[in-house]
Amino acid sequence: MNYILSSLIFIPLLAVLIILCLPKQFYNGIKLVSLLATGLQLILAVWLFSAFNPATTQAYQFVEQLNWISLDLQSLGLLQIQYFIGVDGISLGMVLLTGLISVVGVIASWTISKNVKGYFALYLLLVGSVMGCFLALDFFLFYLFFEFMLLPMYFLIGMWGGPRREYAAIKFFIYTLVGSLLILIVMIGLYTSVIDPVATAIRAGHAPVSGPVTTATIAEVQRQVVAGTLASESLVHTFSIPDMQQAANFVPGSILHVLSQKKLWGYPVRYLAFLLLFIGFAIKLPVVPVHTWLPDAHVEAPTAISVLLASLLLKVGGYGLFRIVYPVFPEAAAYYAYFVGLVGVVSIIYGAMCALAMADLKKMIAYSSVSHMGFVLLGLASLTAEGTNGAIYQMFSHGLISAMLFIITGVIYDRSGSRIIDNFRGLAFSMPAFTALVVIAFFASLGLPGFSGFIAELLVLLGAFSSSTVSGMLPRWMAIVATIGLLLGAAYYLWALQRMFFGKHWVHPELNGKSAMTDLTGREYLMLVPLAILVLVFGLFPSLLLQKISPGINHFLQLVLQNGG
């Protein structure tokens, strides 16, 4: 099982090749291949989850590290890009989530009838890139997967979407592209500033070409780099994220060196770099005010793509903050904690208020995602054990719950062709089992104890609240204001529930009519029931996940606090 992580990434990509070879009319075969590929991926992800050892001192597990591109730039040193993947406490939950949601997404796509071959090929390409994003430990590789998500997503929305699909697809594409350009700028800056001490040691002749490099040698190389006695030709510049997290690997005088006094428009360059990266990932998360692509993309995307978008793609934004932004720029993270927390609180309240005003159920849920992702920022900004664990837990939990929510809107839309809340009343009469699952999903999302969302939001709020006495990052009022989000969340969900599902049974006469509103099919049960059970299980037994990921998150937290404080 040495190549388990690679298999996770390449199984869906391999399936893409198989699908491309299948004849166009062979619908069932195409679907079956997709299901098998994602199913296999899920099995591997679960195996990985159970095999992951939280007690180890290694930072990353199941690491695969290969040199991919090496360019000798003579006096500029060596450009080194690695195929470097691994898993730790921060990515483990996301990998499991990706495995789960990919399967759910295939089941949700089962009714796709237009250009099935193209759809599933793009779908699996998307799944593979998301998985790659969560596993990459080389910034270049990460960026590659990050960009690669855009392409299938653009076509999936733009070709299989609703009436305004082209607008939504272009908006999504351009928004995200702007974000990734910001990330690209910083990535290049980091590349010029960071060296790989191990490879440098070998290149400079301090260590044998094959065989382990001792920590003493690494320290010696790092010392020589600082002293400037190492020739610049022998420096090996790297995109490795773990190397970027160590201050000693920055070349003195380079643009992003930790002690760099370089300023741009009066701001230290490292602070600006933090901001650029933050905005880049914040667009993906999304965060108010760069969130407006999300409602449009959701409304136009087909159900399965909405599920993937909310459950996985948004998480890449939060994950990027955890994986790259905070550990690489800890001092800027501490400096901007107030700002990040504030943006989080604003997202929570603003998203909830917009959700309350929406007439379209899918838009309401899209804005609720904005609100819930605000908790991720708030928890992260608090830099407390409770807050950071809560933020990761929120990403995982929201992945499950939002998948349920978007499948729910899909169920209504498939039957009636409408998602406008006021077009329906008393659906509980014609769809009792569906209503029961809607109640579960809505209450899970509004943070009822017993469901996973409660644990996540509780931990985030606890962290944000105690932050002022523990880490000194956030003022207490932020947590207090954020709790209002809990009230607003309850308000929009219960209001929607009351309007759509309670009262006398009525469907707007211009729609397909009452007869169309039948209860769930077996396929829909197959998606909603397991998700509901998972949401409940992770709400009742948080240690299932936390026991695995909490040490890794603590490692992250201590790293940021030590270097940032």
């Binding site: 351009i174 208020m353 606890l462 609240f465 809990l486 309670f502 603590n554």
Partner: protein, 728 residues
């Protein structure tokens, strides 16, 4: 005190905790089974739910006799942990805590839940979601038992919210009625307002004491050293350092926890959800919105009593007294049989909360216990009456009259005599007549309030006497509205249905044992004898002795220091004051009854009109519950909803608009550039091409291969050359 003592539990304690867990889980298992498979079970599975609750009740009785007046049981398990710096972990625990209060509440909740479910067999018969009803009741019973058993604030909060959830489901049980759906939503949201305060209070304690565990918190708080404006708490858990907290912060934390009580126990200003919650089935109102759930707030205050500073308690007592008075005032103007009882519940909860606030800890808990029985009884009786009214309305095909309006009732003394005899003791207990349970507990609370006012006004501020004054005023009002209630329902004759035979036809339902037994049992339990062997004095009450603060709080009164011991000592020693308040309260109650009779007589003389709105301005004010709902609607909800509309518009017309405009500008710019590209850059090149072409054409024209042409051009060229030479 050894803090770790609580964590090492003996085998016996473990087994008791295990039994408590069974008590807790039985209703849940039955409830979930019913929800999932109920439709397929015989009788839709009501026997399963009743059986599970019955078993729960028997086990609760067993636990009661094992734990009452015995050492407490506290068993803790790890729930989940977060890794911290070094080997430090943040542990979140769950545990079961059994003391006198918990086991008594266990018995009461399982018992009333059992009775209500038995009652519901007939009452809800024929309902198309019969199995769901029992399933929801199972989930409710589970959540309520969870609140009672929880050993820490976080776990308590978990069940606290679950209780709100099951209450939401049950209020909105008849969701085909719009009003029911709305009422459920309103109840949940108003509760959540309180819960947010509760959560923040919990956060404050967690931030400084690093634990949710009530026992550890209690001990930590007990070790606090008063430094005037602040308290110094020595390190409570190994590894923690001591903390100094200001008095105002502690007051705030206490008030945060109290917010939870304000929401759930329907205290001013969040009490508006409770009257609306009467949209639920009447047995639900009996169990949840009278006997158990709404009393959870008082239970919370009892559990958290050491965390309240004297100022926090002052606020609590004022809110309680105000709620008692407002609830009673509103009840005097209502005509809906259930609404009167709902406002009465608000008022009685106000008593309990005030009792906690003034430091009459055990008196307040006694009232919680007695109230649970007599109010449950009143609601179940009201259910029978409504049932009969529905029946009559159905027979008469009358769809316009309000079957819950007491002005449409009358003469039920003869029509439903058993209900009448079950109703009277419960009503007497509510009014506080001697020999009935309410007399004992009310007397105790009133004495406590009086003692508190005396205690506080030593500084010369006699405003403190307003609190007992409000309480005594409410006694008078309680007599008044209950007399009105009884006379309208049971005396005279029905204003709507002139032929009582129609109503009498529904007597068959009354004689069913399923309805009768619960009502009769609850009526009997409204007698004072069951709570104190001397029915005229609370002092010897076994409940009060078992629930005394010395036993529940291990003699650690907490932050309010001297208040609790002083009031309790006064309660039990100053017998003459107690007698005086007893006499006064009975006189007031009787006076209230007499006023109620006068009111009924004058109303009857004038002919009772069901459509007439209250005439006096005060009547209107009370009828509309002091326009609190309208106030929330106009001042908070509507403006906020308008604001959300504006925020959404801002999102759409500003953020998105500017983005789209930016995109459009870019497109226009691109078009401009493309125009320039086409006409300027490309144009220049085209021009050059054209010129070259023209020149080329000119050359080709000369080279057309005819000798004549060459000759002419040569001559012309020669002429030009000559001219050139000549000219220059």
């Amino acid at each position: 005190m050894n803090l770790n003592a609580a964590f090492t539990s003996t085998a016996e304690q473990n087994s008791l905790a295990l039994w408590a867990l069974v008590v807790l889980l039985l209703p849940l298992v039955a409830g979930v089974l019913l929800l999932v498979t109920g439709r397929k079970l015989p009788r839709q599975g009501d026997w399963l739910s009743i059986g599970a609750t019955g078993l729960s009740f028997l086990l609760a009785l067993y636990l009661f006799f094992q734990v009452w007046e015995m050492p407490v049981v506290h068993v803790v398990q790890n729930w989940f942990g977060l890794a911290g710096a070094g080997s430090n972990t943040f542990a979140f625990t769950i545990g079961i805590y059994l003391d006198n209060l918990a086991v008594l509440m266990l018995v009461i909740v399982t018992f009333i839940s059992l009775l209500v479910q038995v009652f519901s067999v007939i009452y809800m018969h024929g309902e198309w979601r019969y199995h769901q009803y029992f399933g929801y009741l199972g989930i409710f019973t589970f959540s309520m038992l969870g609140i009672i058993l929880a050993d820490n604030l976080l776990l308590l909060f978990v069940f606290w919210e679950l209780v709100g959830f099951s209450s939401y489901l049950l209020i909105g049980f008849w969701y085909e009625k719009d009003s029911a759906g709305r009422a459920g939503k309103k109840a949940f949201l108003f509760n959540r307002v309180g819960d947010i305060g509760f959560l923040l209070g919990i956060f404050l304690f967690y931030t400084y004491f690093q634990t949710f565990d009530l026992v550890i918190l209690k001990n930590a708080v007990a070790g606090g050293i008063n430094q005037g404006a602040a308290f110094l708490f020595p390190a409570s858990v190994a590894g923690n350092s001591s903390v100094t907290l200001s008095y105002s912060l502690l007051t705030l934390a206490g008030l945060g926890i109290f917010c939870g009580c304000v929401g759930k126990s329907a205290q001013f200003p969040l009490q508006v959800w409770l009257p609306d919650a009467m949209e639920g089935p009447t047995p639900v109102s009996s169990l949840i919105h009278a006997a158990t759930m709404v009393a959870a707030g008082v239970y919370l205050l009892a559990r958290c009593f050491p965390f309240f500073t004297e100022d926090a308690l002052l606020v609590i007592s004022i809110i309680g007294a105000l709620t008692a008075l407002l609830g009673a005032l509103a009840a005097t103007a209502q005509y809906d049989i259930k609404k009167i009882l709902a406002f009465s519940t608000i008022s009685q909860l106000g008593y309990m909360v005030m009792g906690m606030g003034v430091g009459a800890h055990d008196a307040s808990l006694l009232h919680l216990v007695t109230h649970a029985f007599f109010k449950a009884s009143l609601f179940l009786n009201a259910g029978i009456i409504i049932h009969a009214m529905h029946h009559a309305a159905h027979e008469l095909a009358d769809e316009h009259s309000d079957v819950q309006d007491i002005r449409n009732m009358g003469g039920f003394r003869k029509i439903l005599p058993l209900t009448f005899y079950a109703y009277i003791p419960a009503a007497a207990a509510l009014v506080g007549l001697p020999l009935f349970s309410g007399f004992l507990s009310k007397d105790a609370i009133l004495t406590g309030a009086w003692a508190w006012a005396g205690f506080k006004s030593l500084n010369g501020n006699y405003l403190y006497y307003l609190v007992p004054l409000f309480a005594f005023g409410s006694v008078l009002l309680t007599g008044f509205y209950m007399a009105r209630h009884c006379f309208y329902i049971f005396f005279g004759h029905s204003k709507l249905y002139q032929a009582p035979t129609l109503l009498r036809a529904s007597k068959t339902t009354e004689t069913s044992g399923w309805l009768l037994v619960p009502v009769a049992v609850l009526a009997i339990l409204s007698l004072a004898f069951f709570f104190s062997f001397n029915p005229f004095s609370y002092a010897g009450s076994w409940v009060m002795q078992g629930l005394s603060w010395q036993k529940l709080l291990f003699g650690q009164p907490g932050l309010s220091a001297d208040l609790l011991p002083a009031i309790t000592a006064y309660l039990h020693e100053a017998a003459y004051i107690s007698l005086a308040t007893a006499v006064l309260s009975v006189l007031l109650a009787v006076g209230g009854l007499w006023l109620g009779w006068l009111n009924y007589k004058s109303a009857r003389r004038g002919g009772i009109l069901t459509t007439a709105a209250p005439a006096s301005s005060f009547g209107r004010l009370a009828y509309h519950h002091f326009y609190l709902d309208a106030f929330y609607e106009k001042v908070i909800i509507n403006p906020f909803m308008r604001l959300t509309g504006r925020v959404a518009a801002f999102d759409n017309y500003f953020i998105d608009y500017s983005l789209n405009t930016f995109a459009k500008i870019m497109v226009v710019l691109a078009k401009l550039i493309s125009w320039g590209d086409r006409w300027l850059v490309d144009g220049t090149i085209h021009l050059v091409v054209k010129v070259a072409g023209f020149v080329g054409k000119l050359g080709r024209f000369m080279q057309n291969g005819k000798v004549q042409t060459y000759y002419i051009f040569s001559v012309l060229g020669l002429i030009l050359l000559v001219l050139y030479i000549l000219a220059f």
